[in-house]
Amino acid sequence: MTTVVFEWRALAPVLLVLIAAVLGILVEAVVPVVHRFFAQVFLVVASIVASAAMLVANWRAGIGGPVAMGSMMLDRPTYFMWGALLVFGLLAILVFAEREVNGGVSTFAASAATVPGSRAEAEASAARLEHTEVFPLALFALGGMMVFPAASDLITMFVALEVFSLPLYLMCGMARRRRLLSQEAALKYFLLGAFSSAFFLFGVALLYGYAGSFDFSAIAAAVQNPTMGSGILIAGMALLGVGLLFKVGVVPFQSWVPDVYMGAPTPVTGFMAICTKLAAVGATLRVFYVALGGERWTWQPLLAVLVVATMVVGAVWGLTQTDIKRTLAYSSIAHAGFIMTAVVGATAGTATSPLDSLSSALFYLVVYGLASIGAFAVITLVRNNSGEANAIASWSGLGRTSPLLAGIFALFMLSFTGIPLTAGFIGKWAVFAAAWRGGYDWLVIVAVLLSLVAAVFYLRIVVVMFFGEPADGVVVGKASAFTWLPIAVSALGVAVLGVFPGPVLALATAAGTFIR
C-alpha cells in the first residue's frame, strides 16, 4: 500500500474552482433568493481570480512535474492552458450574469423542470424565478476542463471528460426562450456525447490491454518496445481518438455541433465554443504526442484526411446558413480543422523558428477564443421582441443603427477570416507554418483555399451589416458591464494581438513541450 501524496499547492488552481462550485451548491441551499445571484457571481469571480493568482504564483515558484500520484502532469502546456481556460472561463461566465438585456432576469429558464408552454412555466416566469445553479454548473465544467488536458492517465482523463460534459448537457437545455429547441439540443448533445464516451472507454480498455497500464508514459514505453502485434494498439488508438475528436468537433464526429450551438443559450454556446475546444484540443495533443507519439506515422495521415474533411464541411456547409449562431457553429468546425493542421504537422521547434505544433495550436486557440467569446456576446445583444434575433437577415443595416457594435463584430469576423492586422492572421500563419514544416505542405494549400471559401460567409455578414437596409424591429439591447466587459476585452485582444502578438506568442512558444 503506497501512501497517498497530494500536492495541495500545485493543484490549488483546480481545487479552488471545484470548491467554489461545491460552495455554490451550498449557496443554493442556504442563501435567501434575493441574495443568491450576487453570491454566485461573487463566488465565480473570486474563485477564478484566486485560481489565476495561484497559477501565477506556482509558475513563479517553479512548481511542476507529475502531481496527484502521477495522474496529472503540471507542465508548461498545462500552465498555459489553465491560464487560458481561466481567462476565457471568466469572460464567458460573466456573460451568464447579464440580466439587463432580458428585462431584469437571466437568459436561463425560469424553471427548467417545467414543460415548455405549460401553466407552470408561465407561473415561474411571472414570479421572475431564475436558475442561479448555472454558475456552479459552469464552475464544475471549468474544473473538469482544466483536469482534462492535464490528465496523464486515461482514467483521470475519462473522469474529467464526464465532469465537464455533464454540466454542459444540462446548461444547454436551460434557455429561457425557444425552450424546445434548447431541450432538443441538450438531449442530442447528451445522447451523442454518451455514444462517444462509449467509444472513448472502449479505446481505453484496448490500450490498457496493449500496454498493461493507463499511464501515458507506460503506453509510450509499450509503443517503443512492443510486446504484441500492433492491431490492438491501432484499434485502441482509433476508438480513443473518436472520443476526443468528437469533443473537438472534427468531421465526421461534428454532427452535434450546429444543432447544439444553435439550441443552447447563447452565453453557454460562447462558453462551449472556446473552453470545450481548448480542453479537447489540449487533451488530444497530449494523448497523441505523449502516449502515442511513437506511432505518429500511423496517425498523421489519418488526422490529415479528417482535417481536410473538417475544413471542407465547416467552410462549405457554412456558406448557405441563414442563422448566425449556426454559421458560427460551422465556423467553429472549420477552425477546428485549422487548429488540427498544426497537430498533424507534429513539428518540434528549431533555434530559428521556435514555434512548434503545440505552441502554434495553443496560440491559435487563444486567438480563436477571443473572437468567439466576443462574437457570441455580441449575438446576445441583437434582439427583436421575441428575444435574440439570430437570422442573418435581421442583422441587416446594423452598421448604420449601431456602428460601434457592428464594427466590433466585423473585427471578429475579419479575425476569423484571418485578415492581416487582426489576431486571426497571426494565428493562421502560425498553425500553417507548423504544418508546412512538418511536411504537410499540401495540407496547408488546401487549408488556405478553404479559408478563402470560409471568408465568403464571414464577409457576407459584414456586408449585410454595413450595406443592407436596417431590418425592422431589431434593436441592440441595453446591456450591463457583464456583457460589455467581455466584448471590450475580446475586441481589444483581437486588435492588439494583430499588431503586437509578441508577448503571447512568446508565452505560447515557452509552453512548447509536454513532459512525458
Binding site: L192, S255, V313
Partner: protein
C-alpha cells in the same frame, strides 16, 4: 560611382526611446476625435492642436539632443517590437531618428501645427469640424510613421495611411460631387504608384531578406545591377504617384477640392513631398543605378516644366498654386535624381518650399475667406488694401518662390539649378527656364489678386481674417524669408551621414549661374508685369493662344489618361466582362453552384435526427479504421 558609407544608427537611449510619442500623440488625438466624437465635439479641435504641439515639442527636444551629439551618434534606431518572426525573416517595427527624418518631423509637426491653428479659424463654422481635425491628426500620425520608420514595410503603413487621410480630406465636403470625384481620382491614381511600392518592397524582401533601411543600405552593393535598377524604377513609380509627378500628376489639381488648410498641409508642404523623401532615403539603391537616376531626372524636369505651364494659365488661385507645387516638387525630384551631389539640395528645397508654399496656400485660404470662398482670380483685384496682413505675408512667399535674393527660395532653388547644369547643359537650361516661368506665373497671381482694380462679384465684402489665421501666416512668412539663409551653410554637412550626399563649398556671392538665374527671374517678373500689370484684367478669360488653352486644360493630362489608360482599360474590362460572362462566369458559377449544392446537400445530411447523427459517427469510425488499415498497408 562608389557608394558612400552611411553611418549605422546607434541604439536609442534616454529621450530617444520616447520618439514613438511623436506618432502616438496625434494617433491618440485621431482615435479620441473619431472614436469618441460625441464627448469632444467642442474641445476636440483644441485637443488636436495640443497633440501636434506635443509632437513638435518632442521633435524639437530630439533635434536639440542630436545637435549636441557627436556626428556618429546622431542617427538613432528605436526598436519598438517584433511584429512576428518566421524562419529567417523577422518583421520588426522600429523607428529611425536620424538627420533626415528629424528635419521631416520638425517640418510636419511645425508647419502642421501652424496649419492646425489656422484651421481653428478657417473651419470655425463647419458642422463637421471635429471630424476634420480628427482626419488631420490621423494624417500627421501617418506622415510621421512614414518618415520615422526604419524599414520599408512600416514606411508603407504610413504611406498608405497618408493616402487614406488625403482621400478622406479631399472628399471632406462630400456633398459636392466634384469633391467626391476628386477624392476617388486621387485614391485610384495613388494605387498605381502604390503598386510600384509593393513590388519594390517585395523585391527587397526577396533579395535582402529584409526591408530595413540598414539591411538595404548594406546589401545594395552586392545586388545584381538589373535588380538595383528595377527596384529604383519601382520606387520611382511609387514616388510619382504620391508626389504627383508626370505621368501620375493629374490628381493633384483636382485635390484642390479639399479645404484649403488640407491643400496647404497635405498637397503642398508634406505628403506630396514623400516621393522626394523616398528617393533620398533609398539613396543606397539610386547611387548604384545611373539608369534609374536618369529616369528620376527626366521625370523631375518634365514635371517642373509641366507644372509651371499649368500654373501660367489657370484662373483658379488654388490650381495655380497646385501647378506650382507640382513644378517645385519637380525641382526636388530633379535634384534627388542627380545623385550624391543633389540629395541635400532636394531636401533643402523641400523644407523651404514646405514653409513658403504652406504660407501661400494659407494666404489663398485667407483671401477666399474674405471673398465668400470664390477661387477665381478674375473676381479678385485690389485686395492688397483690404487684406493687408494677407497681402504682406503672401508677398513674402512670393519673393521666396521666385528666388528673390536672400529669401528662402533663392538659396535652395539656386543650388538645384547649379547642380542641374552640373548634370547636363540641357537639364540645367530647362531648370533655368522653369525659374523664369515660375517668376512669370507668380507675378501674374500677385497682380491679379492683390493689384489692379476691383473686379469683385456683387455682395462681396473682403475683410481681413481673424488673428488665429493671420498669426500662422506671419510665422510662415518669416520662415519664407529667413529659412534659406539659416540652413544654407549647414544643411549639406548635417545631412551627409544620412543622405550620403557630397558636401561642397557654398559661396555667399552667387556664381555666374546664380547671376544668370536672377536675370531670368527678373525677366519673368517683367514679362508678368508687362502682360498683366499694365492694363485691366478682363473678368472673363480671353480666348487665349494654343499654349494657354493647353495649360488651362492641364496639358490634357486627363485626356491623356482617358485615351491611354481609361479607355483601353475600359475596353479591356468590357472584353474581360464579355469573356467573363461567357467563359469564366460559367466556371465560377459552376464552382459556386457546386459549393452551394454541396452546402445544401450537407444541410440535408444535417437533418436533425440523432439516430442519423449516430449513424454518421459509426460510419466515421469505419472510415477511421479503413484509413488506418490503408496507412498500415502503405
Amino acid at each position: 560611382m562608389i557608394p558612400l558609407e552611411t553611418i549605422d544608427p546607434v541604439a536609442a537611449t534616454g529621450l530617444f526611446s520616447y520618439a514613438w510619442l511623436m506618432i502616438a500623440l496625434p494617433a491618440l488625438g485621431a482615435f479620441v476625435l473619431l472614436g469618441f466624437g460625441r464627448y469632444v465635439e467642442k474641445s476636440g479641435p483644441y485637443l488636436a492642436v495640443a497633440t501636434i504641439g506635443g509632437s513638435f515639442v518632442v521633435a524639437m527636444a530630439l533635434f536639440v539632443q542630436m545637435l549636441a551629439a557627436p556626428v556618429d551618434q546622431r542617427a538613432v534606431s528605436v526598436q519598438l517590437y517584433t511584429w512576428f518572426t518566421t524562419g529567417t525573416w523577422q518583421l520588426d517595427v522600429g523607428l529611425l531618428v536620424d538627420q533626415l527624418s528629424i528635419l521631416f518631423a520638425l517640418l510636419i509637426t511645425g508647419v502642421g501645427g501652424l496649419i492646425h491653428v489656422y484651421s481653428l479659424g478657417y473651419m470655425a463654422h463647419d458642422e463637421r469640424k471635429r471630424r476634420f481635425f480628427g482626419y488631420l491628426n490621423l494624417f500627421v500620425a501617418a506622415m510621421l510613421t512614414l518618415v520615422l520608420a526604419d524599414n520599408y514595410l512600416v514606411l508603407f503603413v504610413g504611406w498608405e495611411g497618408v493616402g487614406l487621410a488625403s482621400y478622406l480630406l479631399i472628399g471632406f465636403w462630400q456633398y459636392k460631387p466634384s469633391a467626391a470625384a476628386a477624392a476617388k481620382k486621387a485614391f485610384v491614381m495613388n494605387r498605381v504608384g502604390d503598386l510600384g511600392m509593393v513590388l519594390a518592397i517585395s523585391a527587397m524582401l526577396a533579395q535582402f531578406g529584409s526591408s530595413a533601411f540598414i539591411d538595404v543600405n548594406h546589401g545594395a552593393e552586392h545586388l545584381a545591377p538589373g535588380w538595383t535598377t528595377a527596384i529604383g524604377l519601382l520606387l520611382l513609380l511609387g514616388a510619382c504617384g504620391k508626389s504627383a509627378q508626370v505621368p501620375l500628376q493629374a490628381w493633384l489639381l483636382d485635390a484642390m477640392e479639399g479645404p484649403t488648410p488640407v491643400s496647404a498641409l497635405i498637397h503642398a508642404a508634406t505628403m506630396v513631398t514623400a516621393g522626394v523623401y523616398l528617393v533620398v532615403r533609398s539613396h543606397a539603391i539610386f547611387d548604384l543605378t545611373a539608369d534609374a537616376r536618369l529616369a528620376v531626372v527626366i521625370v523631375g524636369t518634365v514635371t517642373l516644366l509641366a507644372g509651371a505651364w499649368i500654373g501660367c494659365s489657370k484662373d483658379d488661385i488654388k490650381k495655380v498654386l497646385a501647378g506650382s507645387t507640382m513644378s517645385q516638387i519637380g525641382y526636388m525630384m530633379l535634384a534627388a535624381g542627380i545623385g550624391p551631389a543633389g540629395y541635400a539640395f532636394a531636401i533643402f528645397h523641400l523644407l523651404t518650399h514646405g514653409a513658403f508654399k504652406a504660407n501661400m496656400f494659407l494666404g489663398a485660404g485667407s483671401v477666399m475667406h474674405g471673398m465668400n470662398d470664390d477661387v477665381d482670380m478674375r473676381h479678385y483685384g485690389a485686395l492688397a488694401k483690404y487684406l493687408p496682413i494677407t497681402f504682406w505675408t503672401f508677398a513674402c512667399g512670393y519673393l521666396a518662390i521666385i528666388g528673390f535674393p536672400l529669401t528662402a527660395g533663392f538659396f535652395s532653388k539656386d543650388h538645384i539649378i547649379e547642380a542641374a547644369f552640373g548634370q547636363s547643359a540641357l537639364v540645367g537650361t530647362l531648370a533655368l527656364l522653369g525659374a523664369g516661368v515660375t517668376a512669370f506665373y507668380m507675378t501674374r497671381l500677385m497682380l491679379m489678386t492683390f493689384g489692379g482694380k476691383k473686379r469683385w462679384l456683387d455682395g462681396v465684402h473682403p475683410h481681413e481674417s481673424p488673428a488665429v489665421m493671420t498669426v500662422p501666416l506671419i510665422v510662415l512668412a518669416a520662415l519664407s524669408l529667413v529659412a534659406g539663409a539659416v540652413m544654407n551653410w549647414w544643411i549639406q554637412e548635417w545631412l551627409e551621414p544620412a543622405a550620403g550626399n557630397h558636401a561642397h563649398e557654398v559661396e555667399l556671392l552667387p556664381t555666374p549661374i546664380g547671376w544668370l538665374t536672377m536675370l531670368v527671374v527678373a525677366a519673368g517678373v517683367f514679362v508678368g508685369w508687362w502682360v498683366f500689370g499694365r492694363k485691366p484684367i478682363p473678368a472673363v478669360a480671353p480666348q487665349g493662344n494654343v499654349l494657354a488653352v493647353a495649360g488651362r486644360n492641364e496639358l490634357y493630362g486627363n485626356a491623356v489618361n482617358d485615351t491611354l489608360v481609361v479607355k483601353p482599360v475600359l475596353g479591356v474590362s468590357r472584353a474581360a466582362v464579355a469573356a467573363d460572362a461567357k467563359a469564366f462566369d460559367g466556371f465560377v458559377n459552376l464552382l459556386a453552384n457546386a459549393l452551394g449544392g454541396l452546402s445544401v446537400g450537407g444541410r440535408r445530411v444535417q437533418n436533425g435526427y440523432v439516430r442519423s447523427y449516430a449513424l454518421t459517427m459509426v460510419l466515421g469510425v469505419l472510415l477511421v479504421g479503413v484509413v488506418l488499415i490503408l496507412g498500415l498497408g502503405a
